[in-house]
């Protein structure tokens, strides 16, 4: 039915929904998009760093769980160097003892090549293994890593190999885990701060636009628009800007990660795990634009409601 009560079909379809307020024509929109892109870029890097640290920690912790290393030094306490054969003989003797000990599950004597791989990060690729006095190393898995068990084991071993040392890796691992934990906390904090900066920027932009379009907002109110109706316009606008900016920032961040991964691979840093992200971690990073859009929507809504509450 038409306005005067007649049934009419008037042809043209107007599917395209417009903003009641000219929000999409604001010059500040590009600045906000750029800002959100930069913030997303930083957030993506911070989160990736956190993921990498987490992978590193996990690898180190898992690799050393219930594992201890027994070192038979090539040098005695009084400074005498043992020959390679003497070291091997002593190592084999300790290994035989361990194999028959009830708390020991498995043992493995590291070959010279394996030891060479371990010292390569410090001494370089082209070291001459023959020229270096290498210790004997036995990696073993035990039932439990209690301090009393290890102490008892060490005392027994030292009965026939006085210089042998048991390294449970606890001391350096604890420090390392504490350090990586602190870095992870810093990454998380950085991500939160980036989120807060983004929310503050969006709130500022929304407040500015409310001030610029005060007359139009008042007119909408007088026509019966609820705060919710007006807020939806700002929410939609902020959501689109945040999503666009965030997609750009996330894409740039992914490219930066690829570059970092490539250059880390080129450097061949043997101490560090390979820099690669799991599917879940990539999915989490891909969620960033949606999270940014959510933050923008929520912030815009809160800001609009807070500002409109002061109007009659």
């Amino acid at each position: 039915m038409g306005f005067f009560g007649e049934d009419k079909t008037l042809g043209i379809t107007r599917q395209k929904r417009r903003y009641d307020l000219p929000l999409n024509r604001s010059a500040g929109a590009n600045f906000l998009t750029l800002l959100i892109a930069l913030m997303t870029f930083l957030a993506l890097l911070a989160l990736s760093a956190s993921f990498a640290l987490s992978a590193m920690t996990e690898r180190w912790s898992a690799g050393l769980e219930n594992r201890v290393t027994i070192e038979i030094p090539a040098e005695t306490k009084n400074g005498t160097l043992l020959s390679r054969e003497e070291v091997h003989a002593l190592t084999n003797r300790v290994n035989s003892f361990l194999e028959n000990h009830p708390t020991v599950k498995t043992t493995h004597i590291l070959t010279d090549n394996e030891i060479g791989e371990l010292v390569k990060p410090w001494l370089g690729e082209d070291m001459l293994l023959d020229k270096i006095p290498l210790p004997g190393l036995i990696s073993m898995e035990i039932q439990d890593k209690e301090e009393t068990t290890l102490d008892a084991l060490q005392r027994k071993i030292q009965g026939f190999a006085p210089h042998a040392r048991i390294d449970s890796h606890e001391t350096w691992l604890k420090d390392l885990l504490r350090f990586t934990g602190a870095l992870q906390f810093a990454s998380a904090l950085l991500t939160i701060v980036i989120g807060l900066i983004t929310a503050t920027a969006i709130a500022g932009a929304v407040r500015a636009r409310l001030a610029v379009h005060h007359e139009e907002v008042q007119l909408l109110h007088l026509m019966g628009a609820s705060d919710n109706y007006i807020s939806r316009q700002f929410q939609r606008h902020s959501r689109i800007l945040a999503f666009e900016g965030s997609v750009i920032g996330a894409a740039a961040g992914m490219l930066a990660l690829l570059a970092i991964g490539w250059s880390a691979g080129e450097m061949e840093i043997n101490l560090l795990p390979n820099f690669h992200l799991s599917h879940i971690q990539i999915a989490t990073l891909a969620l960033l634009p949606f999270i940014a859009a959510l933050i923008a929507t929520f912030t815009a809504r809160k800001t609009v409601f807070h500002t409109l509450a002061r109007m009659p």
Partner: protein, 232 residues
Amino acid sequence: MIRFEHVGLRYGIGPEVLSDISFTLEPGSFHFLSGPSGAGKTSLMRLMYLGRRPTRGLITMFDQNVNALKREQLSSIRQRIGVVFQDFRLLPHLSAFDNVALPLRIQGKPEKEIRNNVHELLEWAGLGEHMDSLPDTMSGGQQQRIAIARAVITRPRLLLADEPTGNLDDDIGLRLMNLFDQLNRMGTTILIATHNQQLMDKFNHERLILDNGHIQTEESKNWIRRKIEGVF
């Protein structure tokens, strides 16, 4: 029913621009609001379209005490009021169509209904060729017709118009007054603020006369009317 009881309004710490205003508009009534410039007509209209709260007194609209309503409750009352502003207050970035469609969209009407009603009303108002035009590209008279179309598109229960025929030629002004009459016959309460004596004489509706912030009594109305007509 619209009822004002001893209503006063002041802006900030200034003097009262409206004092002790009391009147009743019965449902379906048609009134002119007249008075000299600066008498407070616009302020009174502002109170009626809930653009401001009164400083004192009681306003009842559609059986609800407006003073006691919370902000969020006012929107449903405002949706029952159509307003034609003296300065039109069209949204410059929206086409004529979208300006007129705005109140219907605010009320959440379906797009098909909006399309039909807005087309028909704009055609009727002689703006069928200008539906996609922006207000700034249109004449004052055309803008005024858009403003009027926007005010009546929802068939409001109360229509407030501030000098609605000011920029229109006699023929179109007459057509729009006939539209107001038609709406009035359909039950809309109408209040038109105007200086146009000829208009008030032609359409013999009740008059509220405002002078110096007061609604005048019957005895003083004739004196004020002559003042408006420039007899003194």
